[in-house]
């Protein structure tokens, strides 16, 4: 508990434990290292991901909350905004300031007033509503756009498989 980052992460952990948002469980893998978290996000209702649960790893930089953590799904997640290696591409995880490509508003990007909870909620809504403009998984994005039934079928099969059924 010596640094600003540790204190902040401890507070966020406490908050997420006492008042967890619906469908989200998150906390450090071990309290000995508060900079590595594991979160589980439930698939949003009404999306093809409904019924699934998706584990993800969050890694925090030493200068958190000035800089955002990175987030990586630890399961197969076929989604336009998730790289095939599991890394999540979402504006809230991008370093503060203006986007050099002018795609995103500065307000959408990371800033110290955001939190782990907000990240996880944003990712949950991203899962439900993919952002077609900046695909991380081009094949998934194309399938989502052009062959929606096939996309949903594949996602549902992945969900089922991930639950060991």
């Amino acid at each position: 508990m010596n640094s600003v980052a540790s204190k902040r992460l401890y507070q966020e952990y406490k908050h997420l434990t006492t008042d967890p948002p619906e469908g989200i469980t998150a906390g450090p893998v071990s309290e000995d290292d508060l900079f590595v978290w594991e979160a589980i996000i439930a698939g949003p209702e009404g999306s093809p991901y409904e019924g699934g649960v998706f584990p993800a790893e969050l890694k925090f930089p030493k200068d958190y909350p000035l800089m955002p953590p990175t987030m990586k799904f630890l399961c197969d997640l076929w989604h336009p905004n998730v790289y095939t290696n599991g890394n999540v591409c979402i504006s809230i995880l991008h370093a503060p300031g203006e986007d050099p490509n002018h795609y995103e508003q500065a307000s959408e990007r990371w800033s110290p007033i955001q939190s782990v909870e907000k990240i996880l909620i944003s990712v949950m809504s991203m899962i439900a509503e993919p952002n077609d403009e900046s695909p991380a998984n081009v094949d998934a994005a194309r399938m989502w756009r052009e062959r929606r039934p096939e996309f949903e079928k594949r996602v549902k099969a992945d969900v089922r498989k991930s639950l060991g059924l």
Partner: protein, 194 residues
């Protein structure tokens, strides 16, 4: 008059074409044929290797410049960062490198997570959640698993934050496992209905 002009022009055009052809050939082959004549420059390996740190230094100063162009200029001046910097600052544009010059430099863009760069990295298929969290023992017999009621869950939520570190870790683990098992039960029930 007209006759003499054409008889002069055709050889001229031919000469220009031939000289131009050799000039282009010489230019394209230069980086390869160049290296044996200057073996003293230690930063070159096969005329290609340019210190990445030097390229990064110049890129940091002039982010608008193409990294390949910088690499080319560094190679031509023997890897001198000050010389390249001086050249850019003096307003003389850097030479466009020939197409045959393809140094192996990781571009900054792909490092930053461009879609093409990272998407190519494929990962092996992940194990399912039951395997991942060692829950095999808790899914065997149907009905054996005690399903917590809504009241119990509410109770658990209220007293969620324990003063004891181990108890907190245990609590988090339990919530995580319960979330996965609940999802599985729900999915099983849905399939049972269908």
């Amino acid at each position: 008059m007209a006759d003499t002009q054409t008889s002069i022009n055709i050889p001229q055009i031919l000469a220009v074409a031939i000289v131009g052809f050799f000039a282009i050939r010489w230019f394209l082959n230069k980086p390869v044929s160049d290296s044996p004549t200057a073996p003293t420059s230690s930063s070159r390996r096969g005329g290609r290797a340019v210190d990445i740190n030097k390229i990064n230094q110049v890129t940091a100063m002039f982010p608008q410049l193409d990294r390949r162009t910088i690499a080319w200029d560094l190679q031509r001046n023997g890897g001198s960062v000050p010389a390249t910097t001086e050249r850019v600052l003096s307003g003389r544009a850097l030479e466009t490198p020939p197409p045959s010059f393809q140094p192996n430099i990781p571009s900054a863009a792909t490092e930053a997570g461009s879609s093409t760069g990272a998407a190519k990295r494929s990962s092996p298929s992940q194990p399912d959640l039951i395997t991942r969290y060692n829950l095999q023992g808790r899914i065997g017999g149907k009905g054996k698993e005690a399903v917590p009621s809504v009241e119990q869950e509410q109770e658990a939520k209220k007293s969620a934050w324990s003063a004891d570190k181990a108890a907190r870790a245990e609590n988090l683990k339990r919530r995580r496992e319960e979330m996965i098992l609940a999802a599985r039960r729900k999915m099983e029930a849905q399939e049972g209905q269908a």
